[in-house]
């Protein structure tokens, strides 16, 4: 089985977002970049499937050279090789075009990625890739098993989940608890250094959206503390002051 896992390089979840260049850019100074947490789940499940059933796992990132530490970490976790499309991931359509171009050349059985990237939270790329390749896309996937050429999938829905069956190939947007996150071991880190990382130039240049500026949310006011012995006062304040109940 040939699996392609698409990963994003995103600011760590604990990052405090700040802006620069007159609020037209995110300030990258001092920001730690990590593999997108949802992508990490996708990669971990891909490596598990490879260990069970054989095959290969290729990691794909659309990004500039500064994304390479994240790609190397994915290789250390167990991916066999990697492709970096050398371009700034400007919008979902552009990224999807790159993934679809790589997929057309290599015909994968499964294309996995996170349900969304945690920077722009668009959650579109899997659907657009599926549409471009003319194959089904399913998201958010919380369980994935492969039996022969059939995928058995559990997808989260509002207030519950549904079980699905579909033939391969498929594009899946993944989330927990599809697998436990894997932490690279020393051997993985050593072998990752020599695994193949191919850099290719972008296939298309269509972008359909463009960010003109950024804003930060206003700070919340001070927290009004209510003594525990007067807890009932809270309910009165929620009605008369906050007017939410």
């Amino acid at each position: 089985m040939k699996i392609l896992v698409c990963v994003t390089s995103v600011p760590d979840t604990i990052t405090k977002i700040t802006l620069t260049d007159n609020n037209t850019k995110l300030n990258k100074a001092g920001v730690q970049f990590i593999t997108g947490p949802y992508d990490d789940y996708a990669l971990s499940r891909a490596v598990e499937l490879k260990e069970q059933q054989g095959g290969t796992v290729t990691v794909l990132n659309v990004g500039e050279a500064d994304a390479e530490p994240v790609i190397r970490k994915c290789l250390a976790i167990g991916a066999d090789d990697a492709i970096r499309v050398n371009a700034e991931p400007t919008d979902a359509y552009f990224v999807a075009e790159q993934i679809a171009a790589v997929a057309r050349e290599n015909s994968y059985d499964l294309i996995l990625m996170g349900r969304e990237s945690i920077d722009y939270n668009g959650g579109q790329v899997h659907g657009i890739v599926g549409e471009m390749l003319g194959i089904p896309s399913i998201s958010p996937v919380m369980k994935l098993d492969i039996e022969g050429s059939t995928a058995k999938i559990t997808r989260e829905i509002e207030g519950g989940h549904e079980d699905l069956e579909a033939g391969l190939p498929l594009v899946l947007g993944c989330q927990e608890p599809i697998a436990e996150w894997k932490i690279p071991n020393m051997r993985g880190i050593m072998t990752a250094r020599t695994k193949k990382l191919t850099v290719v130039e972008p296939a298309g240049k269509d972008t359909l959206t463009q960010i003109s500026s950024y804003e930060l949310p206003p700070a919340r006011g001070a927290c009004k503390m209510i003594p525990a012995e007067e807890a009932e006062t809270l309910i009165r304040l929620l009605r008369t002051e906050a007017k939410v109940i």
Partner: protein, 320 residues
């Protein structure tokens, strides 16, 4: 030409978030000098669908084919694309949801449309088509220009306050072509909590964390939620421990919610948890640890034992 709104049904009724989307779509129609058409898929009564008129739609298209009763993102995307072509709609509006997100992504690919997700305000049409959307799970906003001819706006829940009128909208049957290729994913089983208030749609949410000490203690959380007509939620550790189902987990890797009121009980408030709830309008934190970081992001706080405080709050709500 019109603005097309994809409105979702939940047990035969138009979802609250979809009513917000219809209202939003009608305002965009006003801005662009056109009308708003709502599209509803699956089984629903004409009376219920006509409700779209009260929120600004001037017409409702209803595709009632039984194959559309199941929320199928691939088939829905094809139907919405066909309706958009029929109506000459270049702007499509929908409310974010598990189904609508998957549908919108396919639709964006089909129509080569620019898609802005988590939109929180009406577009700014002075020089282009710009929307403000929430990014970094609520930690920032991006003013985004949609440069393609076709545009899809996925509205974040509970950020648009609709105004209701007594207008009605005619409901017209819409019979799209259904392709077998959109029905290749088979649904073998569905498990869904019934009768409860759906967390992503809830105005009020009572949430609890490890401070509750065990799943057997959830009664006091459910009692307060019930008294308030609120949904229940939980933190990631609680879902990881299987004390509560994953669809109740709010946070960075769980569900993102934006209710009017979020009451956090025994949750310390790690930044990853805040990411799921920081767009709540009012946040209440109840924690016995006065140093819990969550108090810094709260509007009201009580330093106290949840096992003492929650039953008293429930009693106070019942006495309102």
């Amino acid at each position: 030409m019109s603005v097309l709104i994809f409105a979702e049904l939940e047990e035969g009724a138009i979802k609250k978030s979809s009513l917000e989307a219809i209202y939003y779509g009608s305002k965009v129609a006003e801005q662009t000098g056109t009308t708003a058409t709502a599209l509803v898929l699956g089984e629903g009564s004409t009376d219920e669908l006509a409700k779209a008129g009260r929120f600004g739609a001037t017409e409702v298209l209803h595709a009632s084919d039984a194959r559309l009763n199941e929320g199928n993102a691939l088939a829905y995307a094809s139907v919405v694309a066909e309706a958009a072509n029929q109506e000459g709609a270049n702007i499509i509006v929908l409310a974010k949801s598990s189904l609508a997100d998957s549908m919108a992504a396919r639709l964006a690919g089909k129509l080569k449309a620019g898609l802005a997700a988590n939109v929180i305000e009406l577009p700014d049409l002075s020089g282009g088509f710009r929307v403000k959307r929430s990014i970094f799970t609520g930690k920032a906003f991006a003013i985004t220009e949609l440069t393609a001819e076709k545009k899809i706006l996925a509205i974040k829940k509970n950020t648009i306050t609709p105004e209701e009128t007594d207008a009605t909208a005619p409901v017209e049957a819409f019979s799209p072509v259904l392709n077998d290729t959109d029905f290749v994913v088979k649904v073998t089983n569905v498990e869904k909590a019934t009768g409860d208030i759906l967390l992503p749609e809830a105005d009020l949410v009572v949430s609890a964390g490890r401070g509750l000490k065990g799943p057997e203690n959830w009664g006091i959380v459910e009692d307060l939620a019930k008294a308030l007509h609120a949904a229940t939620a939980c933190s990631k550790p609680v879902s990881d421990l299987d004390w509560r189902p994953h669809h109740e987990h709010v946070g960075q890797t769980g569900i993102k919610i934006s209710p009017n009121l979020y009451i956090a009980c025994g949750i310390s408030g790690a930044i990853q948890h805040l990411a799921g709830v920081n767009s709540s309008k009012v946040i209440v934190v109840i924690n016995k640890d006065a140093e819990a970081p969550f108090f810094k992001s709260a509007d009201y706080g009580i330093v106290g034992d949840v096992f003492d405080v929650l039953p008293r709050l429930t009693k106070a709500v019942k006495e309102l």
